[in-house]
């Protein structure tokens, strides 16, 4: 983690950091306020290899020196790490339980959600926000979302999540006020699954 960065290899970040981070944030805020709704962040930034455009946009918008970030081993040490260190200036942590944000490059390799910081009884906001790159936000197993932010129910069908992910998410919701907040990212698209959201695989 201490080697010098090869600046020639670093992809650009936001062209207009003030405007673009604001525009990205509003989309992300809406996605978190309305779980399951899809935000399109295509306008924002081309991330480095290994990092989806939407994940890169969230990183530039929310990461800084106050947020320890856990990088999945597929990203750590590579161009993506250099890009995040250069543009966001965030500390990296190898401990999932210390991370404010976690970036998972391949959903299949996602550590159990319970490995991340679950927050404190008095300060549940200190839990990890886990950003998971998936193969796609459509075409997978239909999952029904209910909870705050959802009028009746929202059906999503992300592809490429590891077996047992939805059971983990159910456990995560059941322990509210503790729990991680999840964002699923595919290319330029993002949807949020905050801990307040109940997710159930549609039967039949």
């Amino acid at each position: 983690m201490s080697q010098t960065l090869d600046l020639a290899k670093i992809h650009p970040g936001f062209l207009d950091p003030v405007r673009e981070s604001q525009a990205v944030f509003r989309k992300v805020m809406d996605a978190v306020a309305r779980p399951g709704s899809v935000a399109d962040l295509a306008f924002a930034v081309d991330g480095p290899p290994g990092l989806d455009c939407a994940a890169a946009a969230v990183a530039l918008t929310l990461f800084d020196f106050e947020t320890p970030v856990w990088l999945d081993p597929a990203l750590a040490g590579g161009e993506a790490e250099g890009w995040i260190r250069f543009h966001a200036g965030c500390p990296l942590t190898p401990e999932t339980s210390r991370a404010a944000f976690a970036l998972v490059a391949r959903a299949q390799d996602c550590p159990p959600l319970s490995a991340f910081n679950q927050g404190d009884a008095k300060y549940p906001d200190r839990s990890t926000t886990v950003i998971v790159q998936v193969a796609g936000l459509e075409g997978g197993e239909p999952v029904v979302l209910t909870g705050p932010g959802i009028k009746t129910e929202t059906v999503i069908a992300p592809r490429g999540l590891p077996h047992g992910f939805w059971e983990q998410l159910e456990t995560n919701n059941a322990q509210f006020q503790y729990g991680v907040d999840v964002m699923l990212v595919a290319g330029q698209l993002l949807l949020a699954l905050p801990r307040s959201t109940r997710a159930q695989i549609r039967k039949g």
Partner: protein, 301 residues
């Protein structure tokens, strides 16, 4: 107007520096993920004193963009000093269009009212909050109230409501009436009249609350259950008036009582100034229509 990022711009876009915005943005996301829970944040010094909406201004500054249309009200009115100056502030530092029209606005910042016109899904409502802790009047120690929220130990709040019933024969709280979010977190709706409490429930818009001096942000996402506390035999009810609005004749809006002279003359008018003006334009008239107060008086920008 100077483009927002021109080098000669004296302040950063929307006044706050980018790191502060990121910190506030992170707090907003956690607040939305834990509806009703008060997220501590690093409240900054603002160019107005505490008590003048520093929490609301910081929330607005963290989310606003040049595409937004901004409305700011104080007790429902668009034309009061605080509302006018905050509106001008954002017109200047964020290059946004401002409006008095509730339907046009994408961000509505408010001190102590929710507009009468139902909010829409593309709107964000920002509340200025003097005291975010609903239990503070009952328990002065933050360490204790935090523990009470952590373990959902809200018996004390019900005792307080019961004491109000036993002393006054009813739950006498008129503003800042405590609400329960998704049956988990007790929340202060900020000192909005309890008349507005039902508008918090199952709202279409995102509701954000900011307390600058107390350094807390909390939120209610759209379509969230917000229940005003009550008892089976003393159910929650909102204020009603025998009068209708003296200017527009509205019978279902929140009314302010205005003293007209020393002889005890008074009138009741809509607290929501835009709602009232819109009704008058549409031809509605109350018993005192044509009164000297019956004119739109937004000062030139």
């Amino acid at each position: 107007m100077t483009p927002s990022n021109a080098p000669e711009r004296y302040y950063n876009y929307a006044y706050l520096d980018e790191q502060t915005k990121r910190m506030i943005r992170r707090s907003i996301l956690k607040a939305l993920a834990i509806p009703g829970y008060q997220v501590p944040f690093g409240s900054r010094e603002m160019p107005v004193p505490y008590g003048w909406g520093t929490g609301g201004i910081q929330l607005t500054a963290a989310i606003i963009g040049p595409e937004d249309v901004y409305k700011c009200i104080d007790q429902g009115a668009d034309d009061t000093t605080n509302a006018v100056s905050i509106r001008r502030f954002f017109a200047k530092v964020a290059d946004v269009e401002t409006t008095e029209d509730t339907g046009q606005a994408t961000i509505i910042q408010s001190r102590h009212r929710i507009p009468e016109k139902p909010l829409k899904a593309n709107q964000v409502m920002i509340f200025q909050v003097p005291q975010p802790e609903p239990l503070r009047g009952l328990e002065p120690r933050e360490t204790e109230t935090r523990a009470m929220h952590a373990y959902a130990e809200y018996g004390l709040q019900y005792v307080s409501l019961y004491e109000s019933v036993s002393a006054y024969g009813r739950i006498a709280t008129g503003a800042g009436y405590p609400v329960m979010i998704e049956e988990r977190y007790l929340m202060s709706p900020s000192p909005i009249p309890k008349f507005d409490n039902p508008k918090l429930n199952d709202s279409e818009a995102v509701l954000l609350f900011g307390a600058g001096r107390e350094k807390r942000i909390y939120a209610v996402p759209p379509h969230t259950t917000v229940r005003s506390l009550d008892f089976d035999d003393y159910p929650f009810e909102v204020q009603t008036w025998e009068q209708s609005c003296a200017l527009c004749g509205s019978e279902d809006s929140y009314l302010d009582e205005v003293d007209l002279d020393d002889a005890g003359q008074k009138m009741f008018v809509c607290s929501d100034s835009h709602h009232c003006a819109e009704r008058r334009e549409a031809g509605h008239a109350g018993p005192m229509a044509g009164h000297a107060l019956d004119q739109s008086k937004e000062p030139a920008p």
